[in-house]
Symmetry: C2
Subunit: 355 residues, 2 copies
């Protein structure tokens, strides 16, 4: 036998070698491997068997060139993003779920980390021009998000993890920031709180605006006045939380409750309170955002909302497939707009009752 195959570590077998070995034409072999109808069932199994035996894997460049498809989905993240870099990593869990869905359709997930020294829009443009993937997932969407227009213009199927403030003619999936704000305010008001502050980012990441508007609406529903002083802005990090707590403590009529949009801000808040001899959950009611390993290790435990990252990834993957023409037969076509639900987890951080 000739030294075919990857088993020998030499040059990998191509479809040509496979065809010669089987005394078939490469066209037939290709059709057999790709499940095309006009091929004898018996020859098909022969081909499949030989392909497995020789460790044949089709050259991706060849197929890409011919069919204009890469069999890969890209997930762009920003390594410079505060959120991405701090504490419990949100994305790794999501990747897992996305990949589980994609692997069912022989798609691979490749993560595209935009470095801190490059403009995200330019980076994405390069990736699109490179045709690095058949479809893309973007995240950390801003209020005005030029990347969305870019992808629409390039006619690349995509989904955004996070809404923007732009027209809703694209697919997105987002966490339930409205529900978070509403339910948190409801809960705090029920415990007698009337001055409820929020801690959120100062940049134009869209989720901040969604959260802020819902917070304001929730206050109005309870007949509480909206006080701009209670909207505390800082970096999306534990340090940011520290500054938020600091600012809160200097407010004239000190708020009794604080809702944070990122759970890791709570680390800084706890720290600042402890410096002042104040106890979280006793001197200030705190609700974090997402449950994470961190939340359960703060003292007292952080009240927050539970969410399966893997399920979120699965939802993301399925919604993306729904917007890919190639999978129109398996997933119902359509532009998905989905708000992801979360489940409240009570900790001691908002146990404080001021009635």
């Amino acid at each position: 036998m000739v030294a075919w195959g990857s088993a020998y570590g030499g040059t990998m077998a191509g479809i040509r070698e496979l065809a010669d070995h089987l005394h078939l034409s490469i066209g037939t072999v290709s059709r057999a491997l790709n499940g095309k109808p006009d091929v004898n069932p018996e020859t098909r199994s022969r081909v499949l068997e030989a392909a497995a035996a020789l460790g044949y894997v089709p050259n991706q460049s060849g197929r890409s060139l011919r069919q204009g498809t890469t069999n890969a989905v890209g997930f762009m993240i920003e390594s410079g993003n505060d959120v991405a870099g701090n504490l419990d990593n949100f994305f790794l869990g999501v990747f897992d779920g996305v990949q589980i869905v994609l692997s069912r359709h022989h798609l691979d997930l490749i993560v595209l980390p935009c470095s801190t020294v490059e403009d995200p829009h330019q980076y994405l443009q390069r990736m699109v021009a490179r045709r690095i993937a058949d479809a893309l997932i973007i995240s950390a969407t801003h209020r005005k998000e030029p990347r969305i227009e870019l992808l629409q213009k390039a006619q690349i199927p995509f989904i955004s993890l996070g809404r923007s403030a732009m027209p809703d003619d694209y697919a997105w999936l987002d966490l339930d920031f409205e529900g978070y704000a509403l339910r948190s305010v409801d809960r705090l008001v029920a415990k007698g709180h009337r001055r409820i502050a929020v801690g959120m980012p100062g940049n134009d990441i869209n989720l901040g605006f969604v959260f802020h508007d819902a917070y304001r609406a929730a206050l109005a529903r309870h007949g509480l006045a909206y006080d701009p002083q209670l909207v505390l802005r800082a970096a999306s990090s534990d340090q940011g939380g520290y500054h938020i707590a600091h600012d809160l403590l200097t407010l004239p009529d000190r708020p009794t409750a604080l809702i944070l949009i990122y759970e890791f801000m709570a680390v800084g808040v706890y720290r600042r309170l402890q410096e002042e001899g104040l106890a979280p959950g006793k001197d200030l009611a705190i609700i974090g955002f997402r449950e994470s390993p961190l939340a359960s290790f703060l003292t007292p435990r952080l009240s927050c909302f539970r969410l399966s990252l893997r399920d979120l990834g699965v939802g993301l993957g399925e919604s993306l497939l729904a917007s890919m023409p190639a999978f129109a037969d398996v997933y119902p076509r359509g532009i998905v707009h989905k708000v992801w639900p979360m489940e409240f987890v009570a900790g001691g951080s908002d146990a404080m009752d001021v009635r």
Copy 2:
């Protein structure tokens, strides 16, 4: 003018359209773009100008097919890995540095996250067969690491972030776990500690063994006995740290110091100590591993070692390029074995003096 170019959002311009537009052959255009010598400087600038104007970007599949190269470097991570999933994300910083180096050579970094439901070895095998990148970076290397043999057999340039216990005929770059153990023990012994425990993972990630051996050697150097009971093993997470502290507190002759191999274990250790009314740095000297945002927000601050993730990424990228034949002219060839230095940062967590 015809509707060429991506500006119109239509089908992107190919080298064919570019050549027609310039009244040149595609061969000449290609040579001009790729900096080949036999092309008139004036025509070259004409070509470059037109390419920029039309927004021409070469089709990657076409080039890949012809030259057998992808112009991409893959970085495999395991999303199921405890280390990757917990708290401050180590990898994002490293990505940044790697990309900075790669971009200088028109290479892109793509991250390959192996999902929790797939075997890492199989996953890598698939990526290799797919020829998804020209070179690879692997991480989380175990003691016996089959992925190394796989990559060697496939003749793909690669570097490992982390040593294994296998023959040193591959490139690796690793954090200085020996230095960490030695310097930590030295420091603690100087403060009078004689029973020094370590907290490390129970699996066969190689860094645990490197650390353990150096710890043992450091003890011997000070004439201290090695007590297996002081080697506390638990999951690589904050929860793991909690269990480690718990176990430590039940030891007969309670150790006065603890060296952790992952800084986020400290969160759990602090928590467990506080439950017992014990103070970190006062009742138990603690040294974490790497400085992270977290370390500075623990009370007292965690003593640990500083390290620039970006620089580490740069080193990783450069060492990888050194093993790629295509870049033999720009980086000195050779198999790199590099131990990355770290700088001690004193916190209050090991302030305790027992002399």
